[in-house]
């Protein structure tokens, strides 16, 4: 074969050795891969450090690659926007008029609320600070809903913090490196978020299932929920600040005697245009601590 014959003399000499060692190494590597899968199930601190440091290392490359992609996307948006300018203007005028009315109402309610709070000696919620970060990698997998952002521990991002954008809740921080972090989106199979139905104040858990519409689980079975009800974070568990908009109930299934057998939520976030997120620096209160023996093991390393 031409390619092989033309190989350098050094290469030709080492080829038999290389083939032999490849065969041997191959089985070792298969075993190593299976070992990684098993170890990953145990969720060890070592593998977590490995994952975050690798993502940290490739972050500059991901940032550099994603910039032109963003630029092309923005260019496309720009062209579309120019053509739809008149229509958009009309729509925005109507929206501004509507929002003005809401502002009046909100201001009235705010002052009323302040009066009531003063009367009740209400403990105010601490104001939430946030870090903005850009999405630099999407999950390229059909079975994982997560993204990588270009901010990490150096920017004050910590594991478990909530990530939002202008529309609503995006997900939570699952892994943190020094300058990158992985967000587990609320649609991921492993995502569980304590939520509240805003109208009825009933609690439930929003469970992702990799589809674009996560399910509501642990719902009281005779709840009067309806399609279109708003779902917000409940703040239970202390990990997320309460009241972050999550989505709207998009379907409710009931059995013949009216018991709820399933409900799905359509998130407010537009997953196709996820460019910037805000990671909320909510001080977790009563967050689940790591068991003391795990902490001791980490310190002794």
């Amino acid at each position: 074969m031409r390619v092989k014959d033309s190989a350098g003399s050094l290469l030709r000499l080492t080829t038999p050795l290389r083939v032999w060692s490849q065969r041997f190494a191959f089985f070792l590597l298969i075993i190593a891969a299976i070992g990684m899968i098993v170890l990953n199930r145990a969720d060890t601190a070592f593998l977590e450090r490995f994952r975050t440091s690798v993502v940290d290392t490739v972050t500059p490359a991901l940032e550099a690659f994603s910039q032109p992609v963003d630029a092309i996307g923005n260019l496309g948006d720009g062209i579309r926007n120019v053509t739809a300018l008149l229509e958009e203007n009309e729509r925005l005028r109507a929206e501004v008029a509507a929002l003005r009315r809401w502002r009046e109402e909100a201001q009235a309610l705010k002052s009323q609320n302040e009066t009531f709070r003063a009367l009740l000696n209400y403990v105010p919620d601490a104001p939430t600070r946030f870090v903005s970060a850009r999405v630099i990698a999407d999950s390229g997998s059909a079975f994982v809903r997560s993204v990588v952002v270009n901010g990490g521990a150096n920017n004050g991002i910590r594991k478990g913090q909530a990530a939002v954008n202008g529309d609503g809740l995006v997900g939570r921080v699952a892994d943190v490196g020094e300058r990158s972090a992985r967000l587990l989106l609320i649609t991921d199979l492993n995502s569980r978020i304590p939520v509240l139905l805003e109208r009825t104040r009933d609690r439930a858990i929003l469970a992702g299932d990799n589809s674009i519409k996560p399910r509501l689980v642990y719902l009281p079975s005779h709840l009067p929920i309806a399609v279109g009800d708003r779902v917000v974070t409940s703040g239970h568990g202390g990990i997320f600040p309460p009241g972050i908009p999550v989505g709207k109930v998009s379907s409710v299934r009931r059995s013949s005697d009216g018991e709820i057998t399933g409900a799905t939520v359509k998130p407010f976030v537009n997953w196709n245009r996820l460019e910037l997120v805000r990671v909320l620096q909510h001080e977790p209160s009563g967050m689940v601590e790591r068991p003391p023996d795990a902490q001791a093991a980490e310190q002794s390393q």
């Binding site: 074969m1 390619v3 033309s6 190989a7 350098g8 050094l10 290469l11 290389r18 490849q22 190494a25 191959f26 590597l29 298969i30 891969a33 070992g35 990684m36 899968i37 170890l39 990953n40 199930r41 593998l47 490995f50 994952r51 690798v54 993502v55 490739v58 490359a61 991901l62 690659f65 994603s66 992609v69 963003d70 092309i72 996307g73 923005n74 496309g76 948006d77 999405v135 630099i136 990698a137 999407d138 999950s139 390229g140 997998s141 059909a142 079975f143 994982v144 809903r145 993204v147 990588v148 892994d175 992985r182 587990l184 199979l189 990799n210 589809s211 196709n272 245009r273 996820l274 460019e275």
Partner: protein, 173 residues
């Protein structure tokens, strides 16, 4: 400087190109695309590259390199660590075993070989992840992703072949 040493160094550097470009493709594969719904079904470029190099230059794509590519893919996509690694290693071994049969065949047959490889890889991936999650995962997105990957294969393979001619094969002259 010793010219033969220079030549060896040159060969060595050129020899790193297949692995290097595969690493780059892993990163490209995970870029957030500004197209509706593309994120989850972005084509598996690294799979294409792996198949290509396994058939044309397996000497420059050692198994340890495949392992590293798979591990990087696992880490960057956030999948369970080891899953892509295992799938890519098995797919690589498959492609390598069919290499002698495929090497001098027309492109359509190589493409057909890739279709089989991709279907097998997808099936393996689906089975492993379903087992890990204790649930039969909905394979719709994976099927779309594989369809796109197969459709884009000729273009990516053509680019890789140009790169191979321009950079890698020149190393032996």
């Amino acid at each position: 400087m010793n010219p033969s040493l220079m030549a060896q160094l040159d060969d060595f550097t050129r020899g790193l190109v297949p692995l290097g470009i595969t690493f780059v493709l892993v990163l490209v594969e995970t870029l957030p695309l500004p197209m509706p719904g593309m994120g989850a079904v972005a084509p598996a470029l690294s799979l294409i590259a792996l198949y290509h190099w396994a058939i044309y230059r397996p000497d420059l794509m050692p198994a340890i390199g495949v392992f590293a590519v798979g591990a990087l893919l696992d880490v960057v996509t956030g999948a369970s660590l080891g899953v892509n690694t295992l799938v890519l290693l098995i797919v690589y071994a498959m492609a390598l075993s069919q290499r002698r049969f495929l090497l001098d065949k027309p492109f359509s047959l190589i493409w057909a070989g890739f279709v089989l490889t991709a279907v097998f890889a997808g099936l393996l991936y689906w089975v492993i992840l379903s087992l890990l999650n204790n649930a039969l995962l909905n394979p719709t997105r994976l099927i779309v992703q594989l369809g796109i990957t197969v459709a884009i294969f000729p273009a990516v393979s053509w680019l890789l072949a140009r790169l191979q001619q321009a950079v890698v094969r020149d190393a032996q002259t």
